[in-house]
């Protein structure tokens, strides 16, 4: 889509320039602020003092080493899904299937840990994580291939894959993978047996939940940043995302890139799934019959996290930590003020709506800024296209 730059912006940079700079730098923080304000109104409407509520939230999320540890652990799946979303969205493919990919990764990792309980930790843990990535990667590759080779809308196919994944999870955890010793009055509980101690992610800071997965997920995020901005594959991926036609014209393997983007996106989600199991407190995989029960909606919240991180894996690290704080703090707030933590889910949704609502104005502002910076003549020349402005923006990033 070609968007014309606004000549007035170039001519009088002062007023418009300020507005543009505001949009570029403050669109994301003000989206979050707006959502929190709506949350404050909701809290007040529910008869809770918003200050009390938010203080409980912040204390619960960031007050003290235990809270910080819990927040960091909560951030792991959000970060891993978030960087997966960065990969997919940068290629302009919308992966809504994080939930299912997490579940499939969790199942693959769990199956590995159940099958090889005797292996030493340094071998078993990497195996479990790789299995998780493979499981999620396969679940992402299917809609990826459908998109690339059959032009099937990926939003729909990933949603359908979620619906299939939840049933597979319920079947496996109640059937082939069930813990047969857990029998109670109502039949077997749909969960696996306790995983071998060798598969547990080691705790880094004693007395907290902080496990090795936190460090590892940060490394994955850095790795994805390098992949996207420092390798030719990443360049191709972003080129395909900016303009499929231009990438085709440049001779890039567009279809393969789309499929690989979805596969990698699924792989990081699957990694998140296996970490949810071996980094959990229960150290087994349990289902309550829904995907959310296992994932904690990380597949959707990861989208929020990635958008808020500007689809940049490095900013996504910070963004994941902040949103994990909201989730952990939300539970604390529920205890103190008796406001259900669903409030946080609703606020996450609002953040998404606000971010994407401002995104169009933000993109325009960027293009105007880029045009102003390069002193593009306003007459006689074609205005910068979205692709050009986007590329210039990324060069600076």
């Amino acid at each position: 889509m070609t968007v014309t730059s606004d000549p007035v912006t170039v001519a009088t940079p002062s007023a418009h320039g300020r507005r543009n700079r505001f949009l570029i730098w403050f669109a994301l923080p003000s989206s979050a602020l707006a959502a929190l304000l709506v949350g404050a109104v909701m809290l007040a409407a529910l008869g809770t003092n918003p200050v009390t509520g938010y203080r409980a939230l912040v204390t619960g999320a960031f007050g003290g080493s235990y809270a910080l540890g819990a927040t960091a652990v909560k951030a792991v799946p959000l970060l891993l899904v978030g960087v997966g979303i960065c990969i997919a969205f940068r290629a302009n493919v919308f992966n809504i299937g994080g939930e299912g990919q997490i579940a499939m990764g969790g199942l693959a990792g769990t199956a590995t840990a159940l099958a090889l309980p005797g292996l030493p930790s340094p071998v078993l843990i990497p195996l479990v994580l790789v299995a998780g990535a493979v499981g999620g990667g396969c679940w992402g590759a299917i809609p990826g291939a459908f998109k690339a080779y059959f032009n099937v809308n990926e939003i729909l196919s990933t949603i359908m894959m979620n619906l299939v994944a939840v049933q597979i999870m319920n079947y496996l955890l109640a059937g082939p993978m069930v813990d047969k010793s857990s029998g109670s009055v109502g039949g077997l509980i749909p969960q696996t047996r306790l995983l071998s101690r060798h598969s547990w992610l080691p705790i880094i800071v004693p007395g907290t939940q902080l496990h090795l997965g936190v460090l590892f997920s940060v490394l994955v995020a850095i790795g994805v940043y390098v992949l996207l901005w420092r390798t030719s594959f990443g360049f191709r991926l972003r080129a395909v995302g900016l303009s499929r036609e231009a990438a085709t014209y440049a001779g890039m393997p567009v279809r393969r890139t789309i499929m690989l983007a979805m596969t990698l996106s699924g792989a990081t989600c699957g990694l998140a799934g296996s970490m949810l199991v071996v980094g959990s407190i229960s150290h087994r995989m349990v289902t309550d019959g829904s995907l959310t029960g296992f994932t904690g909606s990380a597949g959707f919240n990861g989208i929020v996290v990635a958008l808020f991180g500007g689809l940049n894996p490095l900013w996504t690290i910070l963004s994941a930590f902040v949103f994990a704080g909201l989730l952990v703090g939300g539970s604390a707030m529920q205890v103190v003020t008796n406001v259900p933590s669903d409030l946080i889910v609703a606020l996450n949704g609002l953040v998404v709506v606000f971010v994407v609502s401002l995104d169009y104005a933000r993109r325009r502002a960027r293009m105007a800024e880029t045009a102003a910076r390069y002193q593009a003549p306003t007459l006689g020349l074609a205005p910068p296209t979205e692709a050009v402005a986007g590329a210039a923006e990324e060069e600076r990033a």
Partner: protein, 310 residues
């Protein structure tokens, strides 16, 4: 297996399938209207959730299902307005803004439920309305003509929506806006007005679908829809943006689900694999997306915000 083909069970299964299909059909018809105008509304599931809660709460307060349905419709229209502002005026990426609205409604509906209701109380259900004479037809009568009013409404809306889309000025304008907004604009059709009205109309039907779902279930719970709204969106693609095709998809979906329920009850498929069998509707939809639905072209401007001069 042979017991399944006794006429009583077959009749009951088909009747259940048709009833199950109704909320999907309502939501999918609404989505069809919106998508024909060029707007993807992925927040349908959220709209259904909040409308279902609105209808449920109204039913608890007033004991009147008519009020409940009206509240459901009202909530749908309101969320439709929000969706329209975000996707038409603010030109947001529709695939993502819809997920935002879904997340908001998912959290907000449960928040309201826990704070306003707390313990789940059942509400009245709509009684079946027998169509005079037709309900006496052997077998078919029991299958088709002993449903509740909302089920009839859903199926009656199929030709109505088709008529509006294909035979009225409004419908032709709407399709023009979905195919080539610039051309429609140049002929004096307001893209904004058409898209706003289409999205609000579609969301109203999603609201009705939410009300129908909660009335059918008789109770509200967290995430009541279990993704029904997303399936409705898929059915639009399945039905190639045509009301009759969408109806076929909804029926296929509802009937598959009903057959699996029935087989589970009869022990034809063992309980342990019933979860796997429950994937059948989703798998069938994906396969349909892969095969049949690909032959039809989607509205050319689908998902693309319109801007003059671009």
């Amino acid at each position: 297996m042979s017991q399944f083909f006794t006429s009583n069970i077959l009749t009951a299964t088909v009747a259940t399938g048709i009833a199950l299909a109704a909320p999907f059909l309502l939501a999918a018809l609404g989505e069809t209207i919106g998508q024909r105008s060029g707007v993807i509304n992925l927040g349908v599931d959220g709209i259904m959730l909040l409308s279902a809660f609105g209808a449920y709460y109204a039913a608890l307060q007033t004991q009147s299902l008519v009020t409940a349905i009206l509240v459901g419709i009202g909530v749908g229209a309101l969320l439709g307005l929000v969706t329209a502002v975000v996707s038409v005026t603010l030109r947001a990426e529709q695939g993502i803004s819809g997920i935002g609205i879904y997340l908001f409604a998912l959290g907000f509906s449960d928040l309201l439920f826990l704070k306003l209701v707390g313990t789940p109380l059942p509400i009245n259900q709509l009684s079946a309305v027998k169509v005079p004479l037709l309900d006496r037809i052997p077998t078919a009568g029991g299958m088709f003509f002993k449903q509740n009013a909302l089920v009839y409404l859903a199926f009656v809306l199929v030709p109505v929506v088709a008529f509006v889309l294909n035979r009225t000025t409004y419908g032709l304008n709407l399709k023009a806006v979905g195919e080539n907004p610039a051309a429609a604009d140049s002929l004096g059709v307001s893209v904004t007005v058409v898209r706003y009205s289409a999205v609000i109309l579609g969301s109203t039907l999603a609201g009705l679908a939410g009300a129908a779902l909660v009335i059918e279930t008789g109770i509200f719970q967290e995430n009541l829809t279990q993704g029904a709204g997303f399936i409705a969106v898929a059915l639009v693609y399945f039905g190639a943006w045509r009301p009759a095709g969408v109806m076929a998809g909804a029926l296929l979906y509802g009937l598959t689900a009903a057959v699996i329920l029935s087989w589970k009850g009869l022990g034809i498929i063992p309980l342990s694999v019933s979860d796997l069998a429950a994937t059948a509707p989703a798998v069938i939809t994906v396969l349909a997306l892969l095969t049949v639905a690909r032959r039809f072209r989607q509205p050319a401007a689908l998902g693309k915000p319109y801007e003059r001069g671009s």
